[in-house]
């Protein structure tokens, strides 16, 4: 016999599909099959169920480079002591965990005067800055499904990074006013590469690497009916720019989806400024929205919780006793480069794999704790590794989709015997930090 759990939320990417079906064994301990998920999402569930290959107890790095198992109590004590003693600790990550856990983490950060930052630092942080510059006309993904007849993918490749995005929301679904699905939609892909997403496009603008800003401004000019000079603009023939502008204007409801190809390439937040202003301009002719293709399943949620608790979406510095925000100064990469922090705590992210080498080296020199169900490049260089239950698989909690819609993830199986969840671990650390700070 087996048990079937429906309407399961996938804790992988910002698409946050909530229609998975998970089949477990009778005792609810092992996942046998996952339906409706993409290959990555299914693998996340199935992998978590393979207890034999998981670390189930905290480990401490020894002088010879090996790890020795320690108890959760010892890990809690180490973490609390480290954070309470530090003058300026960094608490980074938060994107692969629930809002409930983030909230507890923020309270610890407030008590310890920490920097709190999420993975927007290496991802859509530039988008958040651009939104602070020029706003953002947007909509929910259901609006895209029901209304959109113009879809732009700029610097993103959902075919690989958000595999079910196109079938659930953007290209294929048949919605209320879009009964013919894909036939009713025109797709524009802007990417220097011929990606699998580009192969679905009606128009593929093969922008020259690093010239997104120029192309965006050229389309803005073309939308306004201004003359463009030069035959080739940002690697794209002029006629094709006019054609794209006309295609955008002629739709009834359009959406621009954009990803790391524009947020982290030359121009950074200025690219997004231009993309948002293009969207705003298009609203003078038709209806247009713009949505960031957020990566981690709850990086959006981290920005939300930070927002209502401190007023800023990332790079929040609490070390002066009040919240400061100045990306470029208070971001995790910057403080690591400047060797400004004296302890490093990471949860729900893998900076060891994604940060500049200079920063990774600095982390390896610091007192550090990594909270992560997996063994990762980060856990390998941190002094203590605390494995926890998988959020969205072994414990529930709230998450925010890329369009800021909150969806509560579900628990489908039990974690390995005796394992803590990240929320439980943080609550224990908070309790201990309060005791230490009281003295």
């Amino acid at each position: 016999m087996s048990k079937t759990i429906t309407d399961v939320i996938c804790p992988f990417c910002g698409t946050l599909c909530d229609d998975l079906t998970v089949i477990t064994d009778d005792e609810g301990k092992k996942i046998l099959d996952v339906e409706n998920a993409c290959a990555i999402g299914a693998e996340k569930f199935l992998h978590s169920s393979d207890h034999a290959h998981r670390v189930t107890r905290p480990r401490k790095l020894q002088e010879d480079g090996s790890f020795k198992e320690i108890t959760y109590e010892e890990a809690i004590e180490y973490t609390a002591q480290m954070l309470a003693k530090a003058k300026k600790p960094s608490m980074y990550g938060w994107s692969s965990t629930s809002c409930e856990a983030q909230s507890v983490g923020h309270e610890i950060a407030e008590l310890c005067g920490a920097l709190v930052d999420n993975t927007a630092a290496v991802c859509h942080g530039t988008t958040l800055v651009a939104v602070q510059n020029v706003g953002i006309p947007s909509c929910t993904l259901g609006e895209v499904k029901n209304r959109a007849d113009r879809i732009v993918f700029w610097g993103c490749n959902p075919a690989h990074a958000h595999p079910r995005h196109m079938s659930r929301y953007s290209i294929f679904p048949r919605g209320y006013f879009t009964g013919k699905g894909q036939k009713q939609r025109k797709i524009i892909v802007v990417d220097p590469r011929c990606t699998d997403t580009a192969s679905l496009a009606d128009v593929h603008l093969q922008v020259e690497q690093g010239y997104d800003y120029e192309l965006l401004q050229a389309i803005r000019a073309a939308v306004r009916g201004q003359q463009l000079t030069g035959d080739i603009i940002a690697g794209v023939p002029k006629e094709k720019v006019y054609e794209a502008a006309e295609l955008l204007k002629s739709g009834r409801f359009g959406v621009i989806f954009f990803g790391m190809g524009v947020t982290q390439s030359l121009g950074k937040d200025h690219n997004i400024d231009a993309a948002i202003m293009l969207t705003k301009d298009l609203n003078d002719y038709t209806k247009f929205s713009i949505i960031a293709m957020r990566g981690h399943y709850n990086v959006t949620g981290s920005g939300q919780v930070l927002g209502w608790q401190f007023g800023f979406p990332y790079s929040v510095d609490l070390s002066r006793g009040f919240a400061r925000y100045n990306p470029g100064e208070t971001g995790t990469i910057e403080v690591l480069k400047r060797k400004e922090i004296d302890a490093f705590f990471v949860l729900g992210s893998d900076p060891g794999a994604h940060f500049p080498m200079q920063c990774v080296k600095e982390i390896s020199q610091l007192p550090s704790v990594a909270i992560d169900p997996h063994i990762t490049p980060t856990t390998a260089i941190c002094k203590v590794h605390v494995p926890v239950a998988f959020v969205g698989v072994e414990v529930g909690g709230n998450c925010y989709r890329m369009d800021n819609v909150p969806i509560e993830s579900r628990k489908v199986v039990e974690p390995p015997e005796g394992m803590m969840t990240d929320q439980q671990f943080l609550e224990a650390v908070l309790k201990r930090v309060k005791e230490l700070k009281a003295n």
Partner: protein, 566 residues
């Protein structure tokens, strides 16, 4: 639980009819009591004002657009931050404060109940997460119904039972409090970049008019006997000449009698009326329509309103009226955020600077106060700023000052750069009414509590009611300078929430035990609506039905008001 006796204060309480007489207020077991034992802690309120806790009927304090406002306006935090205190978290922000600051600041001003004015149902979980993180004050949230596809289809087919069943289902699913209507039809039209600016503009595709939407939801609301009436933000907000649209909307309620068991006497609450009381046909000829609105309002007793007073600050406008915010950004060219929500609503955000040197802003300032002074019944007229749209709620004490002191108003009027033009376009210079302390208690306590159907527990000091009590260091008869009014209301001497002292000498001393208010209206089983909900989720929502409901743990301390709408 501890007992308190607040002695010798000047008590203002419309519920018991005490108009400033010196008397004692007793608190026992979280309720107002007739008497207390001799162990009760004595609070000396001699020469001070004692009132029930204030009730906020309309503010945007929690949810997706409020938080987008916070996140996209880092500048709003400048110079506002308070570090962590003994009983408080660090907190900051001016027009869109953090949730902690929202709770602390309301409590410090003597507010104990707050209603979040617009909750997009799809985002209800977010609203409740923020409410959970807002300390001290009891809160409820109004889900928006005025642009909802279910409502459109049922009303078009004249299926009133289905409208009621759907309202009941959505209130329960989102843990909502009342039926909110924002720019009926217009926010749906915004899905195609259009709007409904009169009550007779048909909604594209759905072929229903704003008037039909309002009438239908009003009828359903009274049929169900909900604690609050429909709460409406009329069409055509913020445009010169819009007072006619407002009157057209109010007329829909003419002759309708309230039906409920909560003591509510209105069938329609018209919100932030200042934004809806404009005459003239352009910004050049812009003038006050407050008199026309107030005259109508005075004659028709089955409606209530809140003012939406402009406070002349830099603030952040945010509303479920998407097309209005697009219009506003084209006027002031400040950053525009917009979110259209599938099947339900739209919304937008734009920062705004109400500059006293700009004629239109000064006229808006006048209109809000005129409405408060020309409306004759303070039990039906409530002070708000439509926080943060016309100004932050932290400016309420300043509005009280303006309402209570003609001198302070006239000084302001004379000080405007375009003083003569402003006076010519408004009636304020000729109004010398001053709101009394008793009337203020009606406008901020008894009135809103009654309109919300909560007058049996909040807004008064009768024995058995919740012990929400405030002491202000102010004596109405000894005010020499209007500034004293603003100062006293900014930081209450004592605030009790359900019998717990939460503020002492203007400082937060406890985070209380906040509750979330929501309405559980029981209707007959309705298979048709159940099926329609399933079908809409299957075909048109981007979320599965099973993941839509706000589960109980997001509302950890609920106060459920049950209504038998069978």
């Amino acid at each position: 639980m501890s007992e308190y006796i607040i002695k010798n204060g000047k008590v203002y309480d419309p519920k018991t009819g005490i108009k400033g007489e010196v008397s004692d207020v007793c608190i026992k077991d979280g309720k107002i009591a007739d008497k207390v034992s001799n162990k009760a802690k004595v609070i000396d309120a001699k020469g001070k004002t004692v009132m029930a806790g204030a009730v906020e009927i309309h503010a945007h304090v929690a949810g997706p657009k409020v938080n987008e406002g916070r996140n996209y306006r880092p500048e709003d935090k400048l110079f506002t931050y308070q570090p962590t205190g003994k009983n408080t978290r660090m907190s900051g922000g001016f027009s869109i404060p953090t949730t902690f600051k929202t709770g602390y600041e309301y409590a410090r001003m003597g507010f104990t109940t707050v209603m979040e004015a617009a909750m997009p149902p799809l985002y209800a979980r977010h609203v409740h997460e923020e409410i959970k993180d807002t300390p001290i004050v009891d809160e409820g949230a109004f889900p928006v119904f005025g642009n909802n596809w279910f409502v459109f289809e049922y009303l078009k087919n004249n299926e009133m039972d289905n409208v009621c069943a759907y309202i009941s289902w959505l209130l329960k699913t989102t843990k909502g409090y009342a039926v909110k209507i924002v720019n009926p039809g217009g926010s749906e039209a915004w899905g195609w970049g259009e709007n409904c600016t009169t009550v007779n503009d048909p909604v594209p595709y759905f072929d229903i008019t704003p008037a039909e939407i309002v009438k239908g939801l009003l009828t359903a609301n009274e049929k169900m006997g909900l604690p609050h009436s429909i709460h409406i933000h009329q069409n055509n907000l913020g445009n010169p000449g819009n007072y006619e649209t407002t009157l057209d909307t109010l007329k829909i309620a003419e002759g309708v009698k309230p039906n409920n068991k909560f003591g509510r006497e209105q069938v329609l609450h018209s919100t932030h009326v200042q934004f809806h009381s404009y005459k003239g046909d352009s910004w050049a000829t812009f003038e006050s329509g407050a008199k026309e609105i107030a005259d109508y309002f005075n004659k028709n007793k089955n409606m209530t309103m809140d003012l939406g007073c402009v406070t002349l600050d830099e603030t952040t406008t945010m509303t479920a009226d998407g097309p209005f915010e697009h219009h506003l950004t084209s006027l002031n060219h400040l950053k525009w955020a917009n979110v259209d929500v599938e099947l339900e609503t739209s919304s937008g955000i734009v920062p705004y600077v109400y500059d006293p040197n700009i004629k239109v802003c000064a006229i808006q300032w006048c209109i809000g106060l005129e409405l408060g002074l020309l409306a004759k019944d303070p039990m039906r007229t409530f002070v708000t700023t439509d926080h943060p749209n016309a100004g932050p709620f932290t400016r309420y004490p300043r509005i009280y000052k303006w309402l209570m002191s003609n001198k302070s108003r006239q000084d302001m009027l004379k000080g405007f750069k375009n003083s003569d033009k402003v006076i010519a376009a408004t009636n304020l210079a000729s109004i010398d009414r001053e709101i009394t302390m008793f009337e203020l208690a009606q406008m901020t306590r008894a009135g809103p509590a009654k309109a919300l159907g909560l007058y049996n527990i909040f807004g008064g000091l009768a024995p058995g009611m919740d012990a929400d009590v405030v002491v202000y260091d102010l004596d109405e008869d000894k005010v020499k300078n209007p500034e004293e009014i603003e100062k006293a209301f900014s930081a209450a001497d004592y605030v009790f929430k359900s019998g717990t002292m939460v503020v002492e000498h203007g400082e937060v001393v406890s985070n209380g035990n906040k509750r979330t208010l929501w309405v559980d209206a029981k209707v007959p089983e309705n298979k048709q609506v159940e099926r329609d909900v399933q079908m809409k989720f299957l075909k048109f929502y981007s979320m599965n039905l099973a993941n839509y409901e706000v589960s109980n743990h997001y509302v950890p301390n609920p106060y459920v008001i049950e209504v038998d709408s069978n």
